[in-house]
Symmetry: C2
């Protein structure tokens, strides 16, 4: 298929596809002549993955490239590819300074991860993106005056572990290593909005349950404030 067809089938403009090709997010098509290339289903699939990562997962282009090149880096074994790919996924602004709150946060996180539930978590080193992200977020919380002790984090940690089990269950449905890798990345990123949305819906639900479903206009709270 030609670029134009790839465009119509994916719903992505040719200009954008060319941009992705330029950026190395999409492998070049099979060159059939000096100025024309042929694309196949794998390109289409890859293109959709790229769109999903960028649009839904809010992964910046540069990170997406890293993730994708890691996925098909055949100098690495299966596990390393996955590790590298997930490693490159986005992670907050990484509080620059090493202030008191960050120190405390680091200690809290370390304590949490030293619990037996997190048998091997620390083996990845304390410089994994996820670890840093966690420290930054906890630090920010305490800087805002919201205590964030180990016992406060515990329910979230428990949820995280349950989620990981669910994730891996989904990933294990796929047989081939390649499919598993793609699935791992796609599901890691794309289930994030799913989870966060469900959490917000559940929050509204739970808030309703606790703070009473009074006749105080609860049910239409905020209606009409959305901005689209």
């Amino acid at each position: 298929m030609r670029l134009a067809e790839l465009s119509t089938r994916s719903g992505v403009s040719t200009a954008t596809i060319k941009y992705y090709l330029r950026e190395g997010l999409l492998p070049p098509g099979h060159r059939v002549t000096a100025t024309q290339a042929e694309y196949d289903e794998t390109h289409l699939r890859r293109l959709r993955l790229v769109r999903a990562l960028i649009q839904v997962g809010r992964v910046p282009i540069a990170s997406a490239r890293e993730v994708l090149t890691a996925l098909e880096d055949d100098t690495l074994d299966h596990n390393s590819r996955l590790g590298t790919a997930v490693w490159a996924l986005p992670h907050g602004p990484e509080s620059a300074e090493e202030d008191a709150d960050t120190q405390t946060a680091r200690h809290t996180v370390d304590t949490l991860l030293d619990q037996p539930d997190w048998e091997h978590a620390r083996e990845y080193g304390d410089d994994s993106p996820a670890y840093r992200m966690l420290v930054t977020a906890v630090g920010t919380l305490s800087r805002l005056g919201y205590p964030c002790a180990v016992e406060d984090l515990a329910p979230y940690a428990r949820a995280g572990r349950q989620l990981a089990v669910a994730d891996l269950d989904l990933i294990e449905r796929y047989e081939s290593p390649d499919e598993q890798l793609q699935a791992a990345v796609a599901l890691t990123v794309l289930y994030e909005p799913v989870l966060l949305a469900l959490r917000r819906i559940a929050q509204a639900e739970e808030s309703n349950r606790r703070f009473g479903r009074g006749d105080s206009g609860q049910d239409d709270s905020g209606r009409g404030t959305e901005e689209e």
Copy 2:
């Protein structure tokens, strides 16, 4: 305190503070003369909240303004303020077209939320940001070829509910309505990275557990690929 002191105490440049004042993210200080204003602790606290929302929570300025104005809109009652505030929190790109995958996704989500666990979830209408976000994400997943049936979502839904309970537990620690509101927003946004980070760490852990901690370079997978 003067703007300059607010700046040093918060670590935010005066230029940025002025920008926030202009954008209505920060209420103006008490004007002491025609050209000078006095700020107090509430401004400092608010400023830190703004920074947290924007930097850690990745909330766009415009949304942050909506959230914050809702928090102190005293024409609304407590619950309405919270609803309005959370309503304005960011939510993905909202897949424009109403294609087949989106339809299916909507149906899946509706089925999920019609279960007894989600007693009142639907009362907020199907146009809440969280609901739309969920539909978009599920639609994207199926568009990518990842089935996303009700039973696949179930573990995530369960996690979402547990998280909501934890969230509300944290929020209920605060006595005054104002504190609860601030806490609700801050915790909703700032626990997102906490949760996502914990999930990723747990994923690595679980992946290790399942795919064997072989001597195939598992432990240093991806090490050295981070980009800071």
